[in-house]
Amino acid sequence: MTGNRTRSKGWLAAVPLLAFIALIFGVPLLVLLGGTFTRDGSVSAANLTESLQGAYLTALLGSVKISAVVAVAGGVLGTFLAQAIVTSRFRALREAVLTASGVLANFGGVPLAFAWIATLGNSGVVTQAFGLSDHGWNLYNFWGLTLVYLYFSIPLMVLTVVPALDGLRPQWREAAQNNGANTWQFWRYVGVPVLAPTLLGGFVLLFGGSFAAYATAKAMVGGSVPLVTLQIDAALSGNVLIGHENVALALSLDMIVIAGLVMAVYLPLQKRSARWLR
């Protein structure tokens, strides 16, 4: 009897949260979906078609490209850095790098853009000191933005892979060596397969982080690098043909679909890699 009563109460305690999510998160998403397929008051796929053409398509591909480059470069560099501190004998170094990673992985947005502008922008300290402008240096392009995105992506990768690298038991390496494997063979047949779910999960996290980034790009490059987030901003701010305002919603839907597909890879992987973290 008491058990039944507690059970019905339990449902009630979760209701405010679920109702809140439905109202604040669900309603805007439904409106987004509805708006995407509405033009001039009638049902139409025109917004979606337009969002996959011309400058919008370029921006969408630009976002995917920069996110992929950041994910691969950040993933590889982050893994090397993580391996460097995991194999290090200095415990203080490890703790320092992990703490710094926790802080830097959360360093994004406008302040990050300004820190890099002050460093490598046209009148930045390092640019001036080495006269980089004369050598054709320019921060405000695709590779400059990649360099900046790596600043929070590499630490995120370090935080993701360190637990997995810790889980690589020395016994496995010894066993491989006893069987005559060299370093390359150990990594090729033991290390990387064991780490694969974590590494792929890390790539996905980095991809999602760069894909959704808006503040840094807005404060740094304005419109000189085609990115879907900047196009959504322009369309929402009224910078579209009259009657085409809902293109912003269609672009948003494109983004959610891409992010959703990428995350759909991540979630099952996270479960798999969790096995190795025990």
Partner: protein, 287 residues
């Protein structure tokens, strides 16, 4: 060793000799390059703010932060939004998560999925939806009480709509922190023991569960505060002057001050996150 057992050693000896030296070289290179990459922008930003071409070293830019138009107002707004967001997100999630653990375990997976979903939705697409609702709402709801509500949540002095949006953005992090905290204590045994001793449900939650959850609650709170203090996308697109939006606005006219504020806001965020990680470390050594 190699001379004693020549028949086995030749294959094993070269890697054994080479191994200790080689990793140290690449490890050193990786660490030095990483240190340069991560430290130089921080140092350079600081140099940028204190170096005046005519007078040399000066801390003027930092002095100007506090007298700059809108600094106090936007910082207070961001802090206020952060505190209200923390309160609301905890009031909503904590009872739900305790209840799901105790009474409705079948709801646990759906709740986890729902709380993780905001990670899939980039903030800019979320704000595209919100701004559309705010734009269309008045047209459809003009004759109902909802109309007043939609106007009220957009009050520029304290935009509740931002609080609501930030609660959604914070959900995945809060869920994970609290889930880890609740997983570390035996909620069922604790609450049943307290109930058997005659405690009421509010008493169980406030005097038994919450004190045991301190570090999980603290980490949820810090993460939410850091998120709100740094959030730019939603506030900017809905045209509210929060702290990051203010930094962006002044960058056009006062470049040095805007970099100084960036350094300053970094320090605030870092302080918060360091507090968080040290709280986490204390929890780990304690348990």
């Amino acid at each position: 060793m190699a001379t004693v057992t020549p028949s086995v050693a030749p294959a094993a000896a070269p890697p054994a000799k080479g191994r200790p030296r080689r990793p140290r070289v690449w490890r050193g290179v990786v660490l030095v390059v990483a240190a340069l990459y991560f430290v130089v922008p921080l140092l350079a930003s600081f140099v940028f703010t204190v170096d005046d071409p005519s007078t040399g070293f000066t801390l003027d830019a930092y002095g100007q932060i506090f007298s700059a138009e809108g600094f106090g107002r936007s910082l207070l707004l961001s802090l206020g939004l952060g505190l209200v967001t923390i309160a609301l997100v905890l009031v909503l999630t904590l009872p739900a998560m305790i209840a799901v653990r105790l009474a409705a375990p079948r709801l646990r997976t759906p709740l986890e999925v729902v709380c993780t979903l905001p990670l899939v939705v980039p903030p800019i697409t979320f704000v595209a939806g919100i701004s559309t609702v705010l734009r269309w709402g008045p047209d459809y709801l003009a004759s109902t009480p909802f109309y007043q509500t939609i106007i009220a949540v957009q009050n520029p002095d304290f935009p509740l709509v931002l609080v609501f949006a930030y609660v959604v953005l914070a959900l995945p992090f809060v869920y994970r922190s609290l889930d880890a905290g609740l997983g570390a204590i035996d909620v069922r045994t604790l609450s049943e023991a307290a109930r058997n001793l005659g405690a009421s449900w509010p008493h169980v939650v406030f005097r038994v569960i919450i004190p045991n959850l301190r570090s999980g609650l603290a980490s949820a709170g810090f993460l939410t505060l850091a998120l709100v203090l740094g959030e730019f996308t939603i506030a900017q697109l809905l045209s509210f002057q929060t702290f990051p939006v203010w930094i962006y606005t002044i960058s056009g006219s006062q470049a040095q001050v805007s970099v100084a504020v960036s350094v300053f806001s970094l320090l605030i965020t870092w302080l918060l996150l360091l507090l968080l990680s040290s709280a986490g470390a204390r929890q780990r050594s304690g348990s």
